[in-house]
Symmetry: C2
């Protein structure tokens, strides 16, 4: 991996201006300093002009900065933010049969997670998970790990060394909903173990500049009231973020009602333990009542929309438009391996499709546009992880978390067009050369994959590049 | 492209035994003769045993036959059958905005199709479409072309020369539903043009051994009654197959009711023009009544399920389980570019997900399994195109339409597992080495793509191979 150095990026830049508007800049330049921070964005700029103007003004010295140029048709795009992903479930991606949440947990998920007590297995799984998600353009991930402290610490180490921005959550789960062989022994032990991972992360990245702990009560049914009370107190003490699941599956709803009979609804369960805050990420949020939506809004809690997972394990359809209209911050999550794919590009594609399934119910307004799902995957996700001042778009003062997107040569640029079979390998998306920029982006969203993510930077560091 | 020669295939073979059962053979051998026909399938066979036993018995001579070995973890699978795809819409894959069927046709589809009157554009688009779909493992495609005879003939020429099994349909569309600039002038002209393409295909492939014409009334709203009557008569005369669209979108249903007020329902429209036969492929079939399902069953007409398209342009959800339970033959279609993807692997993934959206309505039995969608994509599709005696599975007497599926090296086979970043490029699917065969297939279905389709054969000819 490259060290961070001053960098000049030249070419086309696309990012989300607002929920429903993309901004595309051509012939632009973005200057990133040695801390990975964007210090200038200029229009009508090429390398020579940059060398004649801003570079000397800023005191940059030849040889001390890198230059990255997007070729014609390529563009820089903000890195994706995965607001909900289970790193230890990576080997199970695609393996779920016809299961639904509660049997899926017991049959596939707990056995795999439990097996990561073995550190060499954890090393193998987490190493590949981090590299694979980076290759898909995920520059920030909010990870659930397992209950194991050493393996969770290892995940933090790997994110820091490989260079992925990450929230690392040791799973807290002490109730008998989880198997004997895979659960916290007591609320005290769960809190101690959680503090051990916080302490480790503080030792490797003291300012949480790249890797941060996140408090992770797995979900209400797997946590005792005592554990949730302690986690609420720990949040108050540390102001660390929180992540959990909410209202994913109807069987789960019934279980919550049974376990917490005196509490009004699922959202109020978390609220009653001081776990519903502006720093809480709630994954799924499918079957919420209007009262619950109002409470989430009041607490400024965030929602992670996980369409791949919600469809795969037949959980239901999240009503994204309704949540957006209520002013709630929403991002996208792969929820791998409830979701089958580690790719946020796949998640945003499924977010579009699921919104059309919601629209089949009669309300056309629920359809999400390409602009909207790209927003959810970048600026929306940044808000969900409370990093909207640092990441999510190309603005002066933000950090350079970005991906370079390309499609190989356009077909109609070629001589003949009959011998281009080799070029097909470079990109799953066929560009003919007559597409508008909007069309190029649509084609990327629907048919693109990691082959189109040519390079990835986090905080100014080059952390992934496709070998040529 | 390689010529057809005798071939011996060795290793693991997977195909569908029945709707809900896969059959996996290891250490097996499939012997394919110079006509592309499977002449023997043997268990417990390696190259030496084959040379010692069957090869001399069959009189095969060293040097006159090719040997293809699947490596450990790789397997041969039957080629996919795309029962509904629009070749001229290939450049629009992924471009549909928030449109639904009728505005989508006018805004995106007719302008693109109309432009393929230009033969050099048609050459560029069709060449790439055939090569791209082959790279996704589509060994048979039922194509809609445009109204243009030369461009339609060109598509047939390309399929024959590149080596894809195909049905080629010149679109018949003479009603004023289509724009002045893109429609048949009269029923007579439409029939003459159709006969011209039939005549051309008969001249290049007299026995329709690889490429066959297919009668293609685009859909009822775009055809006059006179045209449909003539096409029904042409079918009776020639016994050529028929393809059209049915019951895709509620606006379309209203239009059909308005255009054919005296006919009971949409299905009866086709039936009344003798277009509903055992050789008819009906695409979409979303909003059918019980009477329509009964009529389709009675006529033994076939259905092409197009989940990507049905979700993308918000058409609705096809009730596949209900159709299967009624004994109707169903296959999968990409319906590109109503569907955003040219890949049947993507279509079968979406068929699984859409079946879960249907199940969210309350009936868990509607969920499709991996086995079932693989069946739809192979043996199911073969029935839909009336080629079940020739393709769809690995049986003696069938032709060798197949793909070799692989995943690169398993992670846990490697030394260390920290330096495997290069191997990531070979496959989007991460195999750790402990997966069962069922798990390997599930991981392929959910996260695989054309990178996993290492080689493709049609009728014994190698027609696609990933360059190393």
């Amino acid at each position: 991996m490259s060290p961070t150095k001053k960098s000049l990026f030249l070419g086309s830049f696309v990012h989300c201006k607002s929920l429903d508007e993309l901004e595309t800049r051509h012939d632009a330049a973005v200057f990133v300093d040695e801390h990975g921070v964007i210090v200038a964005i200029e229009q009508d700029m090429d390398l020579q002009r940059a060398k004649d103007t801003l570079i000397p003004q800023m005191g940059w010295v030849e040889g001390e900065y890198a230059v990255h140029m997007a070729k014609k048709g390529e563009f820089f795009f903000p890195g994706f933010i995965d607001t909900h992903i289970h790193a230890p479930q990576f080997p199970n991606a695609g393996i779920f049969g016809k299961s639904t949440l509660l049997d899926w947990l017991l049959k596939y998920t707990f056995p795999m997670e439990s097996s990561l007590a073995n550190l060499s297995k954890a090393q193998m799984v987490y190493n590949r998970c981090v590299k694979r998600t980076l290759s898909h353009g995920t520059t920030t991930a909010s990870y659930y790990a397992t209950i194991h402290v050493p393996a969770t610490n290892l995940l933090a180490d790997l994110c820091l060394s490989i260079g992925q921005r990450a929230f690392i959550g040791r799973c807290c789960m002490d109730s008998d909903m989880s198997p004997d062989t895979y659960r916290d022994e007591s609320p005290q032990q769960a809190i101690e173990a959680t503090k051990a991972t916080i302490s480790h992360i503080s030792s490797i990245d003291p300012s949480y500049s790249l890797v941060s702990p996140i408090l992770t009560p797995r979900f209400a049914p797997s946590c005792s009231s005592e554990l949730m009370t302690s986690l609420g107190a720990l949040h108050k003490e540390t102001d660390l973020p929180i992540q959990t699941h909410i209202s994913e599956n109807v069987g789960e709803l019934a279980l919550v009602k049974q376990l917490f009979p005196d509490i009004k609804d699922y959202t109020s369960v978390y609220d009653s333990f001081s776990l519903l805050t502006r720093k809480t990420i709630l994954a799924h949020a499918i079957h919420l009542s209007d009262d619950e939506i109002a409470l989430i809004k009041e607490r400024k809690a965030k929602i992670s929309h996980c369409p791949c997972s919600n469809s795969s394990i037949t959980s239901g359809t999240c009503k994204v438009r309704q949540l957006l209209d209520n002013g709630i911050d929403i991002g996208l999550g792969t929820d791998m391996s409830g979701g089958y794919s580690p790719s946020i590009l796949e998640a945003l594609r499924q977010a579009v499709l699921v919104s059309r399934h919601v629209a089949m119910g009669g309300d056309d307004n629920t359809k999400l546009s390409i602009e909207e799902v790209l927003y959810l995957a970048t600026r929306g996700g940044a808000k969900v992880v409370n990093l909207e001042d640092k990441i999510g778009g190309f603005d002066v003062g933000k950090e350079w978390d970005a991906q370079l997107i390309g499609f190989g040569a356009d077909i109609s640029d070629e001589e003949g067009a009959t011998d281009e079979i080799n070029q097909m390998d470079e990109s799953p998306v066929d560009m003919f050369g007559w597409e508008t920029w909007d069309d190029r982006i649509a084609k990327w969203v629907y048919n693109g994959d990691d082959r189109n993510t040519l390079a990835v930077w986090v905080k100014g560091r080059l952390v992934h590049e496709i070998r040529k």
